[in-house]
Amino acid sequence: MNGPAPLMALRGVGKSFPGVRALDGVDLEVFAGEVHVILGQNGAGKSTLIRILGGACRPDEGHVEADGRRVAFASPAMAARMGVAVIHQELTAVPHLDLARNIFLGREAAFRNRLGLLDLGAMRAAARRALDAVGLRADVRTEAAALDVAGQQLLEIAKALSQDSRVLVMDEPTASLSVPEAERLFAIIRRLRGEGHGIVYISHRMPEVKALGDRITVMRDGRRVALLRRGEAGADALVAMMVGRAVALSRPPAQTPGAVLLEAEGLSAPGIADASIRLRAGEVVGLAGLVGSGRTELLRALFGAERGAGAVRLGGRPLPADPVRAAAAGLGLVPEDRKRQGLALGRPVRDNLLSASFRRLARRGVAWPARLEREARSLVSRLSIRTAGTGVRVGTLSGGNQQKCVFGRWLSAEARILLLDEPTRGVDVAAKAEIHATIRARAGSGCAVLLVSSELPELIHLCDRAYVLRDGRIVGELAGAALTEAAVLRLAVAQEAQAHAHG
């Protein structure tokens, strides 16, 4: 591409952290009017790349250019002033500030009146325009905490757009969006591209890469292994470049389910109403539905974290609404928001892996360190958790490896019923395949698995059977040949146009 200078470029950028070469001589150019997709596994260096683009850290070698001139971003705020906005996958909203103040956090000065006070009218009007631009229908005076994950993601994007950013860096923006929400986002991205923005788009989802990517940079082990134009490589080839080897996706073998392990009847809780489901030993059962349809709430109600009316029976015996008893009885919940609900980020990998199984590992009340270490190491290798050791703080691992840790906890606890909420969200292709294999293996050994996933292909692929939720109610059950993407979508989105709104 000769001609105009790129909006932004990295030239020979290298970055090292203790023990890790995160980036090694990486070049990247982002031109006006293009969507530049970055593909790579966990640990390929994408996160570091994003941090350098967004001014959160500086390269050790090489430099950053904006409009053909060398720049040194001292801070994210400086990068923002230069027109680079990063939309982080981990949400950065302030929960108890209203949407308007969240959007303009740090930029309030633009709305000061003569007395130095905020002109709330002007700020709210501007915030409303910003929300309209991403199609988020919510009162700008509501607190960000009132939004669901998808809503908060849209809020992030609205925030970036309101900064007149010319370069938008999106880190897996669709990871928590439902299909219509993702479609809306793609429309926004295409519009921005048409308006001359440059978009850096990180995603693991091949259909998105295909649909959006004008150019694709593939990264592996901190290096750029390929730079491709649209259509130059198919999905299989791209995956092969990312992992350096071919990955076989797991296939569900035909299963004859065993006895009913967990049964819920007429279960109601905040966000769900009158749900009845049945899980049998050896089964992987899907829970499909749009974001906000009550999938997470149903898992939490089964686990006893929140429950109103209705009965849950475990092996025929009533299970009280108490997560501690649920865990002791063999239920394991892998939550969607692993940072907030699943992991103690400041604690070592070992503690996080074993926190549900200390009791099992202890002998006469004493948990011997050597025994704990052995168990932790075995989990690390069984789940291929990439960490320098079991003493490393979980917060320093990449997203996919953190997810494996949550998973490992319930493996170690020998949970017989696994409730998985988006277990592969934000996880790269290879790790995804490993998690899929683990799920099937657990089912194969007689566990029952209930799986929530926004990725329909994953759901169809892994599950023997699926319930479909809409507006907090189970609207259908599909099994075998009837379990297709089209059938699930039809059930999930009926009346969607009227019923689905944020705020």
Partner: protein, 319 residues
Amino acid sequence: MPMAERALPAPFRRAPGAAVALVVLVAIFAASSGGRFLSVGNLVSLSSQVALLLLVALPMTFVVLTEGLDLSVGALMGLAGVVAATAMLGGWGVPGALLAALGTGLVLGAVNGALIAWGGMPAFVVTLGTMGLAEGLALAVTDGEPVSGFGDAPRLAWQAMIGPVPLPVAVAAALYALLHLLLYRTPFGAHVVAVGGNREALRLAGIRGRAVHAAVYVLSASCAALAAFLLVGRTNAAHPTVALGVEFDAIVAVVLGGTSFERGQGWLFGTVLGAAAIGVLRNGLNVLAVDPSLQVVAVGLLAILALVAGNRRGGRART
């Protein structure tokens, strides 16, 4: 938010602990005191008491919004009062004495803020330390005796009426107005909420979160010094330990008022309701001549009830 909750008036929705306590306590004391509780004289005294508490509790709301707390304010009030009284005895005049008290607050607040925001130390430990420091200094300077003999100006100020309004109430009202604007109508206010709610968001937005974090402790200590100055007028003497325990009432008022110790959730007006509830409780028990020690027990019970109510609300926050 469910309709049922929205239909409730804001105080019962956002500060249920304070609102319910206030209604119940006023009803009990009005009914059982034979008119003494609702007498004009008692209401003036009650409002001055609440006003004094508010001077500490309102800025404490800012501190709690940052997921912190300031234990040093009660001891500081003793020290600042002694400083003000000594300044008046030294011929500094009333304005000079006020400035001396405020200066004491500023310094102590800056120490708290610096150690917490830049030193990264827990607010509990730091302010516990400065609490001891301030209390010890006040006692050392005075040998534990009240400082008096500086004329009538402080007493007249405490008793002054602006129209029908006692001066301390007017000062508290002015402070409320100021802090309301600061919290809800300035960038600083939004940044305070963000320090408690999501410091990373603040960093990404290019805000010096540490300066904001430190500033709330300076605010808290300065307001406590102002309260100390007014308090000297109540007995026209500066007692070094007179205000020990005020931090307890102030924190309870904040929590009763619907401000949470987590994630920057809070409501400034709720603190007014919380302080009113505590004021009514203490004043009403006084009117009924209940042992002062039992009053502390009563405030403690109220605090625990508030925390229980707050926890229940917090538990339902996720949808």
